[in-house]
Symmetry: C2
Subunit: 454 residues, 2 copies
């Protein structure tokens, strides 16, 4: 037979445990702090928002956590996801590098987000919760939670950033098809939404406002909880099914990655792919370079400050030690909505500080150039977010072409662009700019990071 | 392990031959006729439009045709497609039936269309053709051909029905991302387009007009050919990879289908799934009921006339013996754009006349009810076209619930709805009607079928 294009696992090879990288780190990440007392937050502080099982997973030091059978049953709808060898892209680039991509766009909503939405909905349902609230910006997380809630019979209520609600009607329809209720944010159904609307009746919203609304709608209702799609430890842990499968698929390919690249917004897609490889690296069984790729318009790792800051704009969340651009930072409206977050997951930030991964920032024109090249060779039109990883992958592959190095490059392709195609239209018609973050803007937004907490 | 959810084949199990059902039929389908001479059309008549290899496949009586290695290499990007057991849907329906679906939405453009777009582009490229033209209504075929042309370095020019061009901008962007040029039809770049615009400057177009434009743009140019996405024998034959894989997957499942349902527009998705099963049925190795499901708004098999008629509205094509609603029939704008065609593939029509398959028509509200139920259990939001098959599948499963019969039902799920979500919004908000074809309208359009040809 011809050279293999994809490495497929049977459904009995879906991982049965999530991997908790914290167990293998030389030191644990700094804890979240209560903004009033500046003491680490405890389970009681989080109980109005999250079910006990997830609070336990957030702080566990166990190396592995069993995946419940009910969650595995849903994972089976699309997992294991395929690992591809990008032979057509390699040929087009004329590179001696071997390029692999782990493709999460096969999930029902077209991204990696259901890997954590499903267990989050499951644990809530198991503890008798009847309703989940959340926010969504690009719409991928909201779609995933809507699907997961349909699966376990939970009500789902989503606050979608107004600009996204208006510009991405397909995302809203997808959520409603799964049975969710979708509000534009700011909305008139919460006090925080009404407060914003009173001052700015035409507000197009922000992720920060939407978080406030979703939290406000859940906290006082004993039947409701809140769900978050990235940033937190348990979310990144749920995503490790990606990397565990990829490890098995590299065995099938009889290969070992030399470089792993993934895009980072909150950090969950990247962490999900790389943590199992990081385990192997820390154990000395392989030595890949692991590289986070972020937008030049929102470069939290490469240009942010490592400090305690709020997770939301309104300052309602605990203080998180992370790479931050300042919690009132408003990123330019680049098309990779899933990467427009002012902070980086505390766990990923910590790992970066430990020197275990490196990072780079790219402008969105290079990203879409890589996305179009990928589409015309591999057939899949990548979501705006993973075009960042592809841009870095193409760079690395072209470097190999110059040096003659036959490196194996692994790329996280976390979703397709079917619901984000207008971004490609903007690129193809030349209406796209890079929106690199200016020093002045960065300085101004960093001024909002709380002082005197370290 | 738990009961299996999907049956996955490795890429070395992609079929290496297409199956030509004509070889096994008791008699061949009646040939297309030249509208002037009323004699069967010969290869020379077709040479300006199609490459020799495809003309040969259109008339071959060989049982199997080898799939070129270059085509298999591209099929590997998404094939073999999965066969699913719809356990969650079965539970929701409370049926003793076993429901399976063969899912073609894993292709780069989200439907079964690339199965034939890829070989069509390949054979044209192999014969030195530099440019392909085509029409597209719903946009699925145009997207598939754009992808296939990118793969083999061909220029691709698509005439997209104006109404679809305006309402489905995402489809156009997808085609352009693959490098195609897309014209709204009627356009001012062809004589037939200009003629329509002169009389109706605001024309929203029709598939018939778009076919005329694409044919006109290809026929006089020795560097160009035309491509069709359904109806013809070679197109249906290319789609048999679907059924051949499904047969192997049923072996894995250790099961045999009792009922097979698929939706029919031009007939290629249905034919592709059922022909290999029909071979097994004609050979006495299994005995499934095989059922075509069509929209009540466009019921060519169940209410059309079996007669020689034109394939396009303008009457430029050969006369085809088929179930037709009349070549100037304008179907109501139901959301399943892929099923809005006045005729049925001559091959499928012939097989229906032989009594080898049966047919039914369903209204689109029942279809979308089945689509939403499917999305909320199985996770995949089905394209409007295969909701017709799902409606029939749900009917059959509920019949089994009444009778206690434990039938195995196989459904063709030919694509997802990511680019057709507004149809779901129309259903969810109650703005959807069935648009059943009236007797008066049918009678009027049948009056246009050429008389005296049989």
């Amino acid at each position: 037979m011809a050279a293999r294009t994809k490495f497929v696992l049977d459904e009995d090879q879906i991982p049965t445990q999530w991997y908790n990288v914290i167990a293998d780190l030389p030191e644990p990440p700094p804890p979240p702090l209560h903004p009033g007392t500046l003491q680490p937050v405890g389970p009681d502080d989080l109980a109005p928002l999250f079910p006990q099982a997830l609070i336990g997973q957030e702080v566990t030091t166990e190396r592995y956590v069993d995946i419940p059978g009910e969650v595995l049953d849903v994972y089976r709808l699309w997992r294991p996801s395929p690992l591809y060898r990008a032979r057509r892209l390699e040929r087009a680039l004329g590179t001696p590098a071997r390029i692999y991509y782990k493709y999460e766009g096969v999930s029902p909503v077209g991204s990696h987000k259901p890997n954590t939405a499903v267990p989050q909905a499951y644990y809530n349902a198991a503890e008798g919760v009847g309703r989940l609230t959340t926010e969504t910006g690009a719409g991928q997380w909201g779609s995933a939670l809507a699907f997961a809630c349909a699966t376990f019979g939970l009500e789902c209520e989503v606050w979608q950033v107004r600009a996204s609600y208006d510009q991405k009607p397909y995302r809203k329809i997808m959520m409603e098809t799964f049975g969710a209720t979708v509000h534009p944010s700011p909305s008139d159904v919460t006090a925080s939404g009404r407060a914003v609307l009173a001052e700015h009746p035409d507000s197009t919203g922000s992720l920060g406002i939407a978080i406030s609304e979703a939290v406000e709608a859940a906290a006082p209702d004993p039947n409701a909880r809140y769900a978050l799609g990235s940033v937190l430890n348990h979310v990144l842990m749920h995503q490790t099914v990606i990397g565990e499968e990829a490890l098995k698929q590299f065995e099938l390919a009889e290969d070992v990655p030399d470089v792993i690249v993934g895009c980072t917004g909150g950090g969950s897609n990247f962490g999900g792919l790389v943590f199992p490889f990081l385990r192997e690296k820390m154990a000395g069984r392989m030595s890949p370079v692991i590289r986070a790729v972020e937008p030049a318009a929102c470069p939290s790792l490469t240009r942010g400050r490592y400090a305690y800051d709020f997770g939301d704009t309104a300052g309602l969340t605990p203080l998180l030690k992370m790479h931050t651009l300042g919690h009132d930072f408003i990123p330019d409206p680049i098309h990779a909505g899933g990467l427009r977050y002012h902070g980086m997951s505390p766990l990923m930030s910590h790992i970066y500080e430990l020197g275990l991964v490196d990072a780079m920032a790219v402008g969105q024109q290079d990203c879409f150039a890589a996305g179009v090249r990928f589409a015309r060779t591999e057939g899949i039109i990548p979501a705006p977010e993973p075009t960042h990883a592809l841009a870095a992958c193409v760079q690395e592959a072209l470097r190999c072409k110059e040096t003659g190095e036959e490196k194996a490059i692994l790329t996280a392709l976390c979703g397709h662009a079917h619901l984000d195609l207008p971004a490609y239209a903007a690129y193809l018609t030349g209406d796209m700019v890079d929106n690199e973050l200016s020093d002045t803007t960065l300085e101004a937004s960093l001024a909002g990071v709380p002082a005197g907490v370290s």
